[in-house]
Symmetry: C2
Subunit: 320 residues, 2 copies
Protein backbone atom coordinates (compact mmCIF):
# COMPACT_ATOMS: atom_id res chain seq x y z
CA UNK A 1 0.00 0.00 0.00
CA UNK A 2 1.27 3.47 -0.88
CA UNK A 3 0.00 6.36 1.28
CA UNK A 4 0.68 10.09 1.12
CA UNK A 5 1.92 9.88 4.72
CA UNK A 6 4.35 7.12 3.83
CA UNK A 7 5.57 9.06 0.83
CA UNK A 8 6.20 12.09 3.04
CA UNK A 9 7.83 10.15 5.90
CA UNK A 10 10.30 8.54 3.46
CA UNK A 11 10.56 11.50 1.04
CA UNK A 12 9.75 9.02 -1.70
CA UNK A 13 10.88 9.31 -5.32
CA UNK A 14 9.92 7.56 -8.52
CA UNK A 15 10.16 7.81 -12.28
CA UNK A 16 9.16 11.45 -12.69
CA UNK A 17 11.61 12.96 -10.16
CA UNK A 18 14.03 13.85 -12.95
CA UNK A 19 11.61 16.63 -13.92
CA UNK A 20 9.32 17.09 -10.93
CA UNK A 21 11.65 16.45 -7.97
CA UNK A 22 10.90 14.29 -4.97
CA UNK A 23 8.01 14.31 -2.49
CA UNK A 24 9.67 17.00 -0.36
CA UNK A 25 9.37 19.46 -3.24
CA UNK A 26 5.58 19.34 -2.88
CA UNK A 27 5.18 19.52 0.90
CA UNK A 28 4.33 23.03 2.09
CA UNK A 29 3.28 22.21 5.63
CA UNK A 30 2.66 19.42 8.12
CA UNK A 31 0.76 18.63 11.26
CA UNK A 32 3.00 16.51 13.47
CA UNK A 33 2.46 14.72 16.77
CA UNK A 34 5.66 14.87 18.81
CA UNK A 35 7.05 12.16 21.07
CA UNK A 36 5.66 13.94 24.14
CA UNK A 37 2.17 13.98 22.65
CA UNK A 38 2.11 17.66 21.73
CA UNK A 39 0.73 18.56 18.31
CA UNK A 40 2.35 21.19 16.10
CA UNK A 41 1.86 22.71 12.69
CA UNK A 42 4.99 23.50 10.72
CA UNK A 43 5.41 25.09 7.30
CA UNK A 44 2.84 27.25 5.59
CA UNK A 45 0.11 27.59 2.95
CA UNK A 46 2.14 29.70 0.53
CA UNK A 47 4.57 28.55 -2.15
CA UNK A 48 7.35 30.70 -0.69
CA UNK A 49 8.28 31.51 2.88
CA UNK A 50 11.43 31.79 5.01
CA UNK A 51 10.10 32.48 8.50
CA UNK A 52 12.19 30.38 10.87
CA UNK A 53 13.89 27.03 10.42
CA UNK A 54 12.66 24.56 7.83
CA UNK A 55 11.03 22.15 10.28
CA UNK A 56 8.84 20.80 7.48
CA UNK A 57 11.87 19.54 5.63
CA UNK A 58 13.32 18.15 8.86
CA UNK A 59 10.26 15.92 9.34
CA UNK A 60 9.94 14.96 5.65
CA UNK A 61 12.06 11.85 5.12
CA UNK A 62 12.72 11.38 8.85
CA UNK A 63 11.10 7.91 8.64
CA UNK A 64 9.00 8.43 11.75
CA UNK A 65 12.01 8.99 13.99
CA UNK A 66 11.20 12.59 15.03
CA UNK A 67 7.41 12.68 15.08
CA UNK A 68 4.23 11.23 13.61
CA UNK A 69 2.96 13.13 10.56
CA UNK A 70 -0.83 13.40 10.77
CA UNK A 71 -1.65 15.99 8.10
CA UNK A 72 0.10 17.19 4.97
CA UNK A 73 -0.40 20.40 2.96
CA UNK A 74 0.72 19.74 -0.60
CA UNK A 75 1.53 22.01 -3.50
CA UNK A 76 -0.37 21.17 -6.68
CA UNK A 77 0.83 21.68 -10.23
CA UNK A 78 -1.24 21.73 -13.43
CA UNK A 79 -1.57 18.48 -15.38
CA UNK A 80 1.21 18.03 -17.94
CA UNK A 81 0.78 17.91 -21.69
CA UNK A 82 0.35 14.56 -23.49
CA UNK A 83 3.75 12.86 -23.32
CA UNK A 84 5.97 11.49 -26.07
CA UNK A 85 8.10 8.50 -25.21
CA UNK A 86 11.44 7.43 -26.68
CA UNK A 87 12.99 3.97 -26.31
CA UNK A 88 16.61 3.60 -27.39
CA UNK A 89 18.65 0.39 -27.40
CA UNK A 90 22.45 0.32 -27.18
CA UNK A 91 24.96 -2.46 -27.80
CA UNK A 92 26.85 -1.63 -24.65
CA UNK A 93 26.92 0.44 -21.51
CA UNK A 94 29.31 3.02 -22.92
CA UNK A 95 26.86 4.13 -25.61
CA UNK A 96 24.02 4.45 -23.11
CA UNK A 97 26.31 6.35 -20.75
CA UNK A 98 27.29 8.79 -23.50
CA UNK A 99 23.62 9.37 -24.27
CA UNK A 100 22.87 10.02 -20.58
CA UNK A 101 25.59 12.68 -20.44
CA UNK A 102 24.60 14.29 -23.74
CA UNK A 103 20.91 14.43 -22.76
CA UNK A 104 21.74 15.83 -19.31
CA UNK A 105 23.61 18.72 -20.94
CA UNK A 106 21.15 19.40 -23.75
CA UNK A 107 18.73 21.69 -21.92
CA UNK A 108 15.88 19.23 -22.39
CA UNK A 109 13.96 18.29 -19.26
CA UNK A 110 12.66 14.76 -19.76
CA UNK A 111 9.81 13.77 -17.44
CA UNK A 112 11.09 10.15 -17.44
CA UNK A 113 14.71 9.12 -17.99
CA UNK A 114 15.20 5.43 -17.18
CA UNK A 115 17.87 2.80 -17.69
CA UNK A 116 17.74 -1.00 -18.02
CA UNK A 117 20.84 -3.20 -18.14
CA UNK A 118 21.48 -6.39 -20.12
CA UNK A 119 20.47 -8.68 -17.24
CA UNK A 120 17.18 -6.87 -16.75
CA UNK A 121 16.43 -6.90 -20.48
CA UNK A 122 17.12 -10.66 -20.56
CA UNK A 123 14.76 -11.20 -17.64
CA UNK A 124 12.03 -9.16 -19.37
CA UNK A 125 12.40 -11.17 -22.60
CA UNK A 126 12.13 -14.39 -20.57
CA UNK A 127 8.92 -13.19 -18.89
CA UNK A 128 7.18 -11.43 -21.74
CA UNK A 129 9.08 -11.06 -25.01
CA UNK A 130 9.00 -7.45 -26.19
CA UNK A 131 11.34 -8.12 -29.10
CA UNK A 132 14.69 -6.94 -27.75
CA UNK A 133 17.45 -8.54 -29.85
CA UNK A 134 20.16 -10.49 -28.04
CA UNK A 135 22.77 -7.84 -28.96
CA UNK A 136 21.04 -5.20 -26.82
CA UNK A 137 23.27 -4.37 -23.86
CA UNK A 138 21.40 -1.38 -22.43
CA UNK A 139 18.10 0.46 -22.88
CA UNK A 140 17.19 4.07 -22.20
CA UNK A 141 13.54 5.03 -21.84
CA UNK A 142 12.75 8.73 -22.07
CA UNK A 143 9.63 10.79 -21.97
CA UNK A 144 8.80 14.46 -22.37
CA UNK A 145 5.47 15.86 -21.15
CA UNK A 146 6.39 19.42 -22.09
CA UNK A 147 4.22 21.46 -24.44
CA UNK A 148 7.13 21.02 -26.85
CA UNK A 149 7.10 17.24 -26.26
CA UNK A 150 7.22 16.44 -29.97
CA UNK A 151 10.31 18.62 -30.50
CA UNK A 152 11.86 17.26 -27.30
CA UNK A 153 11.30 13.69 -28.47
CA UNK A 154 12.92 14.44 -31.84
CA UNK A 155 15.93 15.97 -30.04
CA UNK A 156 16.15 12.95 -27.70
CA UNK A 157 16.07 10.59 -30.68
CA UNK A 158 18.89 12.54 -32.34
CA UNK A 159 21.01 12.54 -29.17
CA UNK A 160 20.55 8.76 -28.73
CA UNK A 161 21.48 8.17 -32.38
CA UNK A 162 24.57 10.38 -32.06
CA UNK A 163 25.58 8.33 -29.01
CA UNK A 164 25.44 5.21 -31.20
CA UNK A 165 22.03 3.73 -30.42
CA UNK A 166 21.20 0.46 -32.22
CA UNK A 167 17.58 1.37 -32.59
CA UNK A 168 15.33 4.22 -31.44
CA UNK A 169 11.53 4.14 -31.28
CA UNK A 170 9.31 7.14 -30.55
CA UNK A 171 5.61 7.23 -29.65
CA UNK A 172 3.02 9.17 -31.61
CA UNK A 173 0.17 8.78 -29.15
CA UNK A 174 -0.72 7.79 -25.59
CA UNK A 175 -1.18 4.09 -26.45
CA UNK A 176 2.24 3.84 -28.07
CA UNK A 177 3.71 5.74 -25.13
CA UNK A 178 2.18 3.26 -22.72
CA UNK A 179 3.47 0.32 -24.80
CA UNK A 180 7.03 1.65 -24.88
CA UNK A 181 7.04 1.99 -21.09
CA UNK A 182 6.07 -1.69 -20.69
CA UNK A 183 9.74 -2.71 -20.48
CA UNK A 184 10.22 -0.44 -17.46
CA UNK A 185 7.06 -1.68 -15.75
CA UNK A 186 8.23 -5.28 -16.22
CA UNK A 187 11.77 -4.72 -14.91
CA UNK A 188 11.24 -5.66 -11.27
CA UNK A 189 8.52 -8.31 -11.84
CA UNK A 190 10.79 -9.97 -14.43
CA UNK A 191 13.79 -10.03 -12.07
CA UNK A 192 11.63 -11.24 -9.17
CA UNK A 193 10.61 -14.31 -11.17
CA UNK A 194 14.23 -15.46 -11.37
CA UNK A 195 14.51 -16.32 -7.67
CA UNK A 196 14.65 -14.63 -4.30
CA UNK A 197 15.76 -11.03 -4.58
CA UNK A 198 17.31 -8.17 -2.67
CA UNK A 199 16.55 -4.76 -4.15
CA UNK A 200 19.17 -2.09 -3.59
CA UNK A 201 18.69 1.66 -4.01
CA UNK A 202 21.80 3.74 -4.49
CA UNK A 203 22.39 7.08 -6.17
CA UNK A 204 25.59 8.25 -7.84
CA UNK A 205 26.49 11.35 -9.85
CA UNK A 206 24.97 10.82 -13.32
CA UNK A 207 28.42 10.69 -14.91
CA UNK A 208 29.27 7.63 -12.74
CA UNK A 209 26.31 5.41 -13.69
CA UNK A 210 28.37 3.39 -16.17
CA UNK A 211 31.09 2.88 -13.53
CA UNK A 212 28.46 1.70 -11.06
CA UNK A 213 26.91 -0.79 -13.48
CA UNK A 214 30.38 -2.14 -14.39
CA UNK A 215 31.19 -2.60 -10.71
CA UNK A 216 27.89 -4.42 -10.22
CA UNK A 217 28.75 -6.73 -13.14
CA UNK A 218 32.10 -7.49 -11.52
CA UNK A 219 30.45 -8.15 -8.15
CA UNK A 220 27.92 -10.48 -9.82
CA UNK A 221 30.79 -12.42 -11.45
CA UNK A 222 32.75 -12.59 -8.20
CA UNK A 223 29.82 -13.82 -6.18
CA UNK A 224 28.37 -16.09 -8.86
CA UNK A 225 25.04 -14.25 -8.77
CA UNK A 226 22.72 -12.65 -11.26
CA UNK A 227 22.25 -8.93 -10.56
CA UNK A 228 19.96 -6.83 -12.74
CA UNK A 229 20.34 -3.05 -12.73
CA UNK A 230 17.55 -0.68 -13.65
CA UNK A 231 16.58 2.75 -12.43
CA UNK A 232 16.42 6.46 -12.83
CA UNK A 233 19.30 7.42 -15.10
CA UNK A 234 18.37 11.10 -15.09
CA UNK A 235 18.96 11.22 -11.32
CA UNK A 236 21.78 8.64 -11.13
CA UNK A 237 19.47 6.61 -8.86
CA UNK A 238 19.88 2.90 -9.63
CA UNK A 239 18.22 -0.23 -8.26
CA UNK A 240 20.66 -3.12 -8.55
CA UNK A 241 18.59 -6.21 -7.79
CA UNK A 242 20.45 -9.26 -6.49
CA UNK A 243 18.88 -12.60 -7.46
CA UNK A 244 19.66 -15.62 -5.32
CA UNK A 245 18.36 -18.96 -4.08
CA UNK A 246 16.98 -18.28 -0.62
CA UNK A 247 17.07 -22.01 0.22
CA UNK A 248 20.86 -22.01 -0.16
CA UNK A 249 22.65 -20.50 2.84
CA UNK A 250 25.81 -19.83 0.85
CA UNK A 251 23.81 -17.98 -1.80
CA UNK A 252 22.04 -15.96 0.90
CA UNK A 253 25.38 -14.90 2.29
CA UNK A 254 26.74 -14.12 -1.16
CA UNK A 255 23.64 -12.02 -1.91
CA UNK A 256 24.03 -10.00 1.28
CA UNK A 257 27.74 -9.59 0.53
CA UNK A 258 26.94 -8.41 -3.01
CA UNK A 259 24.31 -5.99 -1.66
CA UNK A 260 26.85 -4.52 0.77
CA UNK A 261 29.55 -4.30 -1.89
CA UNK A 262 27.17 -2.44 -4.22
CA UNK A 263 26.17 -0.02 -1.46
CA UNK A 264 29.82 0.52 -0.65
CA UNK A 265 30.62 1.08 -4.34
CA UNK A 266 28.00 3.84 -4.49
CA UNK A 267 29.77 5.67 -1.65
CA UNK A 268 33.14 5.22 -3.35
CA UNK A 269 31.73 6.71 -6.55
CA UNK A 270 30.70 9.86 -4.67
CA UNK A 271 27.12 8.73 -4.21
CA UNK A 272 24.72 7.88 -1.42
CA UNK A 273 23.57 4.60 0.15
CA UNK A 274 19.93 5.42 -0.56
CA UNK A 275 18.47 7.55 -3.33
CA UNK A 276 14.79 7.21 -2.48
CA UNK A 277 13.96 4.11 -0.39
CA UNK A 278 15.42 5.37 2.86
CA UNK A 279 17.57 3.83 5.59
CA UNK A 280 14.85 1.86 7.38
CA UNK A 281 16.07 -1.35 9.04
CA UNK A 282 17.86 -2.87 6.04
CA UNK A 283 20.47 -0.09 5.89
CA UNK A 284 20.58 0.93 9.54
CA UNK A 285 24.32 0.20 9.68
CA UNK A 286 24.98 2.25 6.57
CA UNK A 287 23.96 5.73 7.65
CA UNK A 288 27.00 6.28 9.85
CA UNK A 289 29.21 5.02 7.04
CA UNK A 290 27.84 7.72 4.76
CA UNK A 291 27.71 10.58 7.26
CA UNK A 292 30.82 12.29 8.55
CA UNK A 293 31.28 11.75 12.31
CA UNK A 294 30.09 15.25 13.21
CA UNK A 295 26.96 14.90 11.06
CA UNK A 296 26.29 11.56 12.82
CA UNK A 297 26.56 13.40 16.14
CA UNK A 298 24.07 16.00 14.89
CA UNK A 299 21.63 13.20 14.01
CA UNK A 300 21.96 11.80 17.53
CA UNK A 301 21.57 15.31 18.98
CA UNK A 302 18.35 15.85 17.02
CA UNK A 303 16.95 12.44 17.96
CA UNK A 304 17.74 13.17 21.61
CA UNK A 305 16.11 16.61 21.38
CA UNK A 306 12.92 15.42 19.66
CA UNK A 307 12.53 11.98 21.20
CA UNK A 308 14.59 11.70 24.40
CA UNK A 309 12.93 8.42 25.42
CA UNK A 310 13.46 6.87 21.94
CA UNK A 311 9.77 6.03 21.64
CA UNK A 312 9.46 6.74 17.93
CA UNK A 313 10.38 4.00 15.45
CA UNK A 314 13.25 2.68 17.59
CA UNK A 315 16.13 1.21 15.60
CA UNK A 316 14.84 2.62 12.33
CA UNK A 317 16.49 5.31 10.18
CA UNK A 318 18.74 7.02 12.71
CA UNK A 319 21.98 5.61 14.16
CA UNK A 320 21.59 4.34 17.69
CA UNK B 1 26.88 42.92 -2.02
CA UNK B 2 25.21 39.64 -2.85
CA UNK B 3 27.15 36.43 -2.05
CA UNK B 4 26.31 32.75 -2.60
CA UNK B 5 26.79 32.25 1.15
CA UNK B 6 24.34 35.02 1.95
CA UNK B 7 21.84 33.61 -0.53
CA UNK B 8 22.10 30.21 1.13
CA UNK B 9 21.96 31.51 4.72
CA UNK B 10 18.77 33.44 3.95
CA UNK B 11 17.34 30.98 1.39
CA UNK B 12 16.99 33.96 -0.92
CA UNK B 13 14.39 34.29 -3.66
CA UNK B 14 13.91 36.65 -6.57
CA UNK B 15 12.05 37.10 -9.83
CA UNK B 16 12.60 33.65 -11.32
CA UNK B 17 11.45 31.59 -8.29
CA UNK B 18 8.02 31.13 -9.86
CA UNK B 19 9.64 28.68 -12.28
CA UNK B 20 12.99 27.78 -10.73
CA UNK B 21 12.22 27.75 -7.00
CA UNK B 22 14.30 29.35 -4.27
CA UNK B 23 17.97 28.99 -3.36
CA UNK B 24 17.30 25.87 -1.25
CA UNK B 25 16.21 24.00 -4.38
CA UNK B 26 19.77 24.22 -5.68
CA UNK B 27 21.77 23.36 -2.58
CA UNK B 28 22.91 19.72 -2.54
CA UNK B 29 25.42 19.91 0.27
CA UNK B 30 27.19 22.21 2.70
CA UNK B 31 30.29 22.50 4.80
CA UNK B 32 29.34 24.07 8.11
CA UNK B 33 31.35 25.23 11.12
CA UNK B 34 29.35 24.57 14.28
CA UNK B 35 29.21 26.75 17.38
CA UNK B 36 31.71 24.48 19.16
CA UNK B 37 34.21 24.86 16.31
CA UNK B 38 33.69 21.44 14.77
CA UNK B 39 33.40 21.27 10.99
CA UNK B 40 30.87 19.02 9.28
CA UNK B 41 29.75 18.19 5.77
CA UNK B 42 26.06 17.64 5.25
CA UNK B 43 24.12 16.69 2.14
CA UNK B 44 25.60 15.00 -0.90
CA UNK B 45 26.86 15.29 -4.46
CA UNK B 46 23.88 13.58 -6.10
CA UNK B 47 20.59 15.11 -7.20
CA UNK B 48 18.64 12.61 -5.09
CA UNK B 49 19.33 11.11 -1.69
CA UNK B 50 17.41 10.28 1.49
CA UNK B 51 20.11 9.03 3.87
CA UNK B 52 19.37 10.55 7.26
CA UNK B 53 17.78 13.84 8.23
CA UNK B 54 17.85 16.79 5.86
CA UNK B 55 20.49 18.78 7.75
CA UNK B 56 21.29 20.71 4.58
CA UNK B 57 17.82 22.17 4.52
CA UNK B 58 17.97 22.87 8.23
CA UNK B 59 21.03 25.10 7.73
CA UNK B 60 19.75 26.74 4.53
CA UNK B 61 17.75 29.80 5.56
CA UNK B 62 18.81 29.54 9.22
CA UNK B 63 20.32 33.06 8.98
CA UNK B 64 23.53 32.05 10.69
CA UNK B 65 21.78 30.97 13.89
CA UNK B 66 22.81 27.27 13.78
CA UNK B 67 26.24 27.33 12.15
CA UNK B 68 28.51 29.18 9.74
CA UNK B 69 28.25 27.94 6.16
CA UNK B 70 31.74 27.79 4.64
CA UNK B 71 31.21 25.78 1.45
CA UNK B 72 28.21 25.10 -0.77
CA UNK B 73 27.63 22.35 -3.35
CA UNK B 74 25.11 23.61 -5.88
CA UNK B 75 23.01 21.88 -8.49
CA UNK B 76 23.36 23.39 -11.96
CA UNK B 77 20.73 23.50 -14.66
CA UNK B 78 21.19 24.13 -18.38
CA UNK B 79 20.76 27.69 -19.65
CA UNK B 80 17.18 28.48 -20.61
CA UNK B 81 15.92 29.33 -24.08
CA UNK B 82 15.68 32.96 -25.22
CA UNK B 83 12.77 34.47 -23.30
CA UNK B 84 9.64 36.22 -24.49
CA UNK B 85 8.22 38.92 -22.26
CA UNK B 86 4.63 40.10 -21.90
CA UNK B 87 3.55 43.35 -20.26
CA UNK B 88 -0.16 43.77 -19.55
CA UNK B 89 -1.87 46.82 -18.07
CA UNK B 90 -5.19 46.70 -16.22
CA UNK B 91 -7.60 49.44 -15.16
CA UNK B 92 -7.95 47.93 -11.71
CA UNK B 93 -6.73 45.31 -9.30
CA UNK B 94 -9.61 42.95 -9.97
CA UNK B 95 -8.63 42.47 -13.61
CA UNK B 96 -4.99 41.82 -12.72
CA UNK B 97 -6.11 39.41 -9.98
CA UNK B 98 -8.30 37.48 -12.42
CA UNK B 99 -5.35 37.22 -14.81
CA UNK B 100 -3.10 35.92 -12.01
CA UNK B 101 -5.60 33.19 -11.19
CA UNK B 102 -6.22 32.25 -14.83
CA UNK B 103 -2.49 32.09 -15.61
CA UNK B 104 -1.77 30.03 -12.47
CA UNK B 105 -4.30 27.43 -13.62
CA UNK B 106 -3.35 27.39 -17.29
CA UNK B 107 -0.48 24.90 -17.17
CA UNK B 108 2.00 27.53 -18.36
CA UNK B 109 5.14 27.94 -16.25
CA UNK B 110 6.24 31.55 -16.62
CA UNK B 111 9.85 32.21 -15.63
CA UNK B 112 8.86 35.70 -14.41
CA UNK B 113 5.41 36.68 -13.13
CA UNK B 114 5.47 40.13 -11.52
CA UNK B 115 2.97 42.68 -10.32
CA UNK B 116 3.10 46.49 -9.96
CA UNK B 117 0.37 48.54 -8.31
CA UNK B 118 -0.95 52.01 -9.18
CA UNK B 119 1.31 53.77 -6.66
CA UNK B 120 4.42 52.03 -8.00
CA UNK B 121 3.45 52.80 -11.60
CA UNK B 122 2.96 56.47 -10.69
CA UNK B 123 6.39 56.57 -9.04
CA UNK B 124 7.99 55.02 -12.12
CA UNK B 125 6.32 57.54 -14.42
CA UNK B 126 7.60 60.35 -12.16
CA UNK B 127 11.17 59.02 -12.30
CA UNK B 128 11.40 57.89 -15.90
CA UNK B 129 8.25 58.04 -18.02
CA UNK B 130 7.66 54.71 -19.77
CA UNK B 131 4.32 55.81 -21.19
CA UNK B 132 1.84 54.29 -18.76
CA UNK B 133 -1.49 56.12 -19.09
CA UNK B 134 -3.04 57.56 -15.95
CA UNK B 135 -5.89 55.02 -16.12
CA UNK B 136 -3.52 52.10 -15.49
CA UNK B 137 -4.28 50.63 -12.06
CA UNK B 138 -2.10 47.53 -12.18
CA UNK B 139 0.60 45.95 -14.35
CA UNK B 140 1.55 42.31 -14.82
CA UNK B 141 4.95 41.45 -16.27
CA UNK B 142 5.40 37.91 -17.51
CA UNK B 143 8.16 35.99 -19.16
CA UNK B 144 8.59 32.50 -20.55
CA UNK B 145 12.04 31.03 -21.19
CA UNK B 146 10.64 27.68 -22.27
CA UNK B 147 11.48 26.21 -25.68
CA UNK B 148 7.83 26.96 -26.45
CA UNK B 149 8.28 30.56 -25.23
CA UNK B 150 6.57 32.03 -28.30
CA UNK B 151 3.47 29.86 -27.82
CA UNK B 152 3.55 30.53 -24.08
CA UNK B 153 3.70 34.28 -24.70
CA UNK B 154 0.74 34.09 -27.09
CA UNK B 155 -1.23 32.13 -24.48
CA UNK B 156 -0.29 34.66 -21.77
CA UNK B 157 -1.41 37.54 -23.99
CA UNK B 158 -4.75 35.79 -24.58
CA UNK B 159 -5.27 35.13 -20.86
CA UNK B 160 -4.51 38.77 -19.98
CA UNK B 161 -6.90 39.98 -22.67
CA UNK B 162 -9.64 37.62 -21.46
CA UNK B 163 -9.13 39.03 -17.95
CA UNK B 164 -9.84 42.52 -19.35
CA UNK B 165 -6.35 43.96 -19.88
CA UNK B 166 -6.26 47.55 -21.20
CA UNK B 167 -3.21 46.89 -23.29
CA UNK B 168 -0.81 43.96 -23.79
CA UNK B 169 2.68 44.16 -25.30
CA UNK B 170 4.86 41.19 -26.18
CA UNK B 171 8.57 41.10 -27.00
CA UNK B 172 9.96 39.66 -30.22
CA UNK B 173 13.63 39.70 -29.22
CA UNK B 174 16.03 40.07 -26.29
CA UNK B 175 16.22 43.88 -26.55
CA UNK B 176 12.45 44.26 -26.46
CA UNK B 177 12.34 41.79 -23.58
CA UNK B 178 14.86 43.86 -21.66
CA UNK B 179 12.92 47.06 -22.39
CA UNK B 180 9.62 45.62 -21.16
CA UNK B 181 11.25 44.60 -17.87
CA UNK B 182 12.45 48.17 -17.26
CA UNK B 183 9.29 48.96 -15.29
CA UNK B 184 10.07 46.16 -12.84
CA UNK B 185 13.70 47.21 -12.47
CA UNK B 186 12.60 50.77 -11.72
CA UNK B 187 9.98 49.82 -9.13
CA UNK B 188 12.09 50.11 -5.98
CA UNK B 189 14.39 52.94 -7.19
CA UNK B 190 11.28 54.94 -8.17
CA UNK B 191 9.62 54.44 -4.77
CA UNK B 192 12.88 55.17 -2.93
CA UNK B 193 13.05 58.60 -4.57
CA UNK B 194 9.77 59.61 -2.96
CA UNK B 195 11.18 59.76 0.57
CA UNK B 196 12.45 57.47 3.29
CA UNK B 197 11.18 53.95 2.85
CA UNK B 198 10.48 50.73 4.70
CA UNK B 199 10.38 47.67 2.43
CA UNK B 200 8.15 44.84 3.57
CA UNK B 201 8.24 41.25 2.30
CA UNK B 202 5.15 39.16 2.84
CA UNK B 203 3.74 36.17 1.03
CA UNK B 204 0.08 35.20 0.72
CA UNK B 205 -1.73 32.49 -1.22
CA UNK B 206 -1.86 33.71 -4.84
CA UNK B 207 -5.65 33.99 -4.72
CA UNK B 208 -5.34 36.55 -1.88
CA UNK B 209 -2.98 39.03 -3.60
CA UNK B 210 -5.83 41.38 -4.50
CA UNK B 211 -7.10 41.28 -0.90
CA UNK B 212 -3.61 42.09 0.34
CA UNK B 213 -3.17 45.06 -2.00
CA UNK B 214 -6.62 46.40 -1.05
CA UNK B 215 -5.73 46.14 2.64
CA UNK B 216 -2.47 47.98 1.96
CA UNK B 217 -4.43 50.74 0.19
CA UNK B 218 -6.68 51.06 3.22
CA UNK B 219 -3.71 51.15 5.60
CA UNK B 220 -2.07 53.86 3.44
CA UNK B 221 -5.28 55.92 3.63
CA UNK B 222 -5.61 55.43 7.40
CA UNK B 223 -2.03 56.37 8.11
CA UNK B 224 -1.81 59.18 5.55
CA UNK B 225 1.14 57.51 3.83
CA UNK B 226 2.05 56.49 0.31
CA UNK B 227 2.63 52.72 0.05
CA UNK B 228 3.64 51.14 -3.26
CA UNK B 229 3.15 47.42 -3.79
CA UNK B 230 5.15 45.38 -6.26
CA UNK B 231 6.44 41.82 -6.24
CA UNK B 232 6.24 38.26 -7.35
CA UNK B 233 2.61 37.60 -8.26
CA UNK B 234 3.31 34.04 -9.33
CA UNK B 235 4.40 33.20 -5.78
CA UNK B 236 2.06 35.57 -3.91
CA UNK B 237 5.23 37.25 -2.56
CA UNK B 238 4.67 41.02 -2.35
CA UNK B 239 6.89 43.91 -1.29
CA UNK B 240 4.70 46.71 0.05
CA UNK B 241 7.01 49.71 0.39
CA UNK B 242 6.05 52.36 2.89
CA UNK B 243 7.18 55.89 1.98
CA UNK B 244 7.54 58.43 4.77
CA UNK B 245 9.39 61.53 5.92
CA UNK B 246 12.13 60.30 8.24
CA UNK B 247 12.56 63.81 9.70
CA UNK B 248 9.00 63.71 11.03
CA UNK B 249 8.64 61.60 14.19
CA UNK B 250 4.90 61.17 13.69
CA UNK B 251 5.48 59.93 10.13
CA UNK B 252 8.15 57.52 11.35
CA UNK B 253 5.70 56.06 13.84
CA UNK B 254 2.94 55.89 11.23
CA UNK B 255 5.31 54.10 8.84
CA UNK B 256 6.26 51.49 11.43
CA UNK B 257 2.57 51.07 12.34
CA UNK B 258 1.71 50.60 8.64
CA UNK B 259 4.55 48.09 8.23
CA UNK B 260 3.26 46.09 11.20
CA UNK B 261 -0.34 46.25 9.99
CA UNK B 262 0.72 44.96 6.57
CA UNK B 263 2.72 42.10 8.10
CA UNK B 264 -0.23 41.26 10.31
CA UNK B 265 -2.58 41.37 7.31
CA UNK B 266 -0.42 38.79 5.54
CA UNK B 267 -0.86 36.39 8.46
CA UNK B 268 -4.62 37.02 8.53
CA UNK B 269 -4.81 36.21 4.81
CA UNK B 270 -3.19 32.80 5.45
CA UNK B 271 0.28 33.97 4.49
CA UNK B 272 3.69 34.40 6.05
CA UNK B 273 5.55 37.38 7.55
CA UNK B 274 8.48 36.85 5.18
CA UNK B 275 8.48 35.34 1.72
CA UNK B 276 12.17 35.67 0.93
CA UNK B 277 13.97 38.35 2.97
CA UNK B 278 14.03 36.44 6.25
CA UNK B 279 13.35 37.36 9.86
CA UNK B 280 16.65 39.09 10.61
CA UNK B 281 16.42 41.87 13.21
CA UNK B 282 13.58 43.85 11.63
CA UNK B 283 11.04 41.05 12.11
CA UNK B 284 12.48 39.35 15.19
CA UNK B 285 9.23 39.89 17.08
CA UNK B 286 7.18 38.41 14.25
CA UNK B 287 8.43 34.83 14.11
CA UNK B 288 6.63 33.75 17.27
CA UNK B 289 3.47 35.43 15.99
CA UNK B 290 3.59 33.26 12.89
CA UNK B 291 4.67 29.99 14.50
CA UNK B 292 2.38 27.93 16.68
CA UNK B 293 3.64 27.76 20.30
CA UNK B 294 4.93 24.20 19.92
CA UNK B 295 6.84 25.07 16.74
CA UNK B 296 8.34 28.05 18.60
CA UNK B 297 9.46 25.62 21.31
CA UNK B 298 11.05 23.40 18.64
CA UNK B 299 12.97 26.41 17.31
CA UNK B 300 14.28 27.12 20.82
CA UNK B 301 15.10 23.43 21.27
CA UNK B 302 17.13 23.40 18.04
CA UNK B 303 18.92 26.63 18.88
CA UNK B 304 19.78 25.20 22.31
CA UNK B 305 21.01 21.94 20.77
CA UNK B 306 23.17 23.56 18.08
CA UNK B 307 24.35 26.67 19.90
CA UNK B 308 23.88 26.26 23.67
CA UNK B 309 25.95 29.37 24.44
CA UNK B 310 24.04 31.52 21.91
CA UNK B 311 27.26 32.55 20.18
CA UNK B 312 25.89 32.55 16.64
CA UNK B 313 24.10 35.66 15.38
CA UNK B 314 22.51 36.43 18.75
CA UNK B 315 19.12 38.12 18.53
CA UNK B 316 18.78 37.40 14.84
CA UNK B 317 16.25 35.12 13.16
CA UNK B 318 15.26 32.84 16.05
CA UNK B 319 13.08 33.84 19.00
CA UNK B 320 15.01 34.42 22.19
Amino acid sequence: MCTIGGNVATNAGGMCCVKYGVTANYVLGLEVVLADGRVTRVGRNTVKGVAGLDLTRLFVGSEGALGVITEVTLRLVPSPAEPRTVLATFADLQGAGSAVEAISRAGITPSIFEFLDRTTIGAIEALSPLGFESNVGAVLLLQSDDKAAKEDAAALVALCEEAGALDVAVSDDADESHALLEARRLALPALERLGDWLLDDVCVPRARIVDLVRLVERIADDEGLKIGVFGHAGDGNMHPTVIFDGADQGARRAARRAFDRITSAALELGGTVTGEHGIGRLKSSWLTRELDPVASDLHALLKQAFDPKALLNPGVALPR
